[in-house]
């Protein structure tokens, strides 16, 4: 796997979400991703960045264009230093929420992207990585 471009954005308040979404759109347009796939990736990103703000008061996001086996894609890594998730399988269930929301954020984001990985340690934080390939497969 080769990383072609890489940059980082800090998210500390709600308004930071808009420029972040625009940056994801720029990257996915740059690699020629279709509109539907762009929308899926940005929507997933929007869910994950909300979680980061809500549960961890923000964090940082690494945005990359990567290439693997001749495929190009966008990879986003959400890193926070929040309270962490105690029970990941439970958090990944549709309709489960500790925060009075619909509970679609994590499972919905997973359905929208090609690759999804979540790691969390209680007391030290959560890292979510998502990758969406140019052709959406």
């Amino acid at each position: 796997m080769i990383t072609m471009t890489k940059d980082t954005m800090q998210i500390v308040r709600e308004q930071d979400v808009v420029p972040f979404r625009n940056r994801v759109r720029e990257l996915s347009t740059k690699i020629g991703m279709s509109l539907v796939n762009q929308t899926k990736l940005i929507t997933a990103a929007s869910e994950l960045v909300r979680n980061m703000l809500k549960y961890a008061n923000g964090g940082k996001i690494i945005l990359e264009i990567i290439s693997k086996n001749g495929q190009t894609g966008v990879r986003l890594t959400f890193v926070d230093e929040g309270p962490g998730i105690e029970n990941i399988p439970q958090a990944m269930q549709d309709g489960f929420s500790t925060g009075r929301s619909l509970g679609l954020g994590l499972p919905g984001a997973k359905r929208l992207v090609n690759e999804f990985d979540i790691k969390s340690k209680v007391g030290s934080g959560t890292t979510v990585t998502v990758t969406h390939w140019k052709n959406g497969r």
Binding site: E14, V36, T39, T43, S46, R50, S101, G108, L112
Partner: protein
């Protein structure tokens, strides 16, 4: 603070969302709309989202809330102009916007509102009543 304008058009309220939504802005819109329905006695609310590129679970929930709250206040809500990519993404995310009326464009949305609220029939009945009285004399 940034706000989305609400226009009054006869018995209906019209909202065209032209900016990228973030959570606070969507919450303000929900609040403003319900207050406007109460203040003006509007019978319908039309929300045009044709310029909205992203609807995630939070904004989807706000749209549902606006529809439910308006209904309790005796007003119908129609969401119009959803982009195909947004519709595909919403369903995959797991959000089907139950209870929210939708239409393809503003024109069809207006027709639907007139249909749902029976305003035209009410007006016609009033007119007819007047005519019948005249003929009886």
């Amino acid at each position: 603070m940034e706000r989305i304008p609400i226009l009054k058009m006869g018995p209906f309220l019209l909202v065209t969302i032209q900016v990228d939504l973030y959570d606070r802005l969507a919450l303000n819109l929900e609040n403003d709309l319900i207050n406007m329905v109460s203040k003006t006695g509007a019978r319908g609310v039309l929300i045009d989202i044709s310029a909205v590129n992203i609807v995630d679970s939070f904004m989807g929930r706000i749209l549902g809330n606006i529809a439910s709250m308006s209904r309790i206040m005796d007003a119908e809500t129609v969401v119009v102009g959803m982009q195909p990519a947004v519709a595909i993404t919403l369903v995959e995310l797991g959000l089907t916007l139950q209870g929210v009326h939708t239409a393809l464009n503003v024109e069809k949305g207006m027709e639907l509102l007139y249909d749902k609220t029976d305003i035209l029939t009410e007006q016609a009945e009033e007119d007819n009543d007047g005519e019948t009285d005249d003929h009886d004399d």
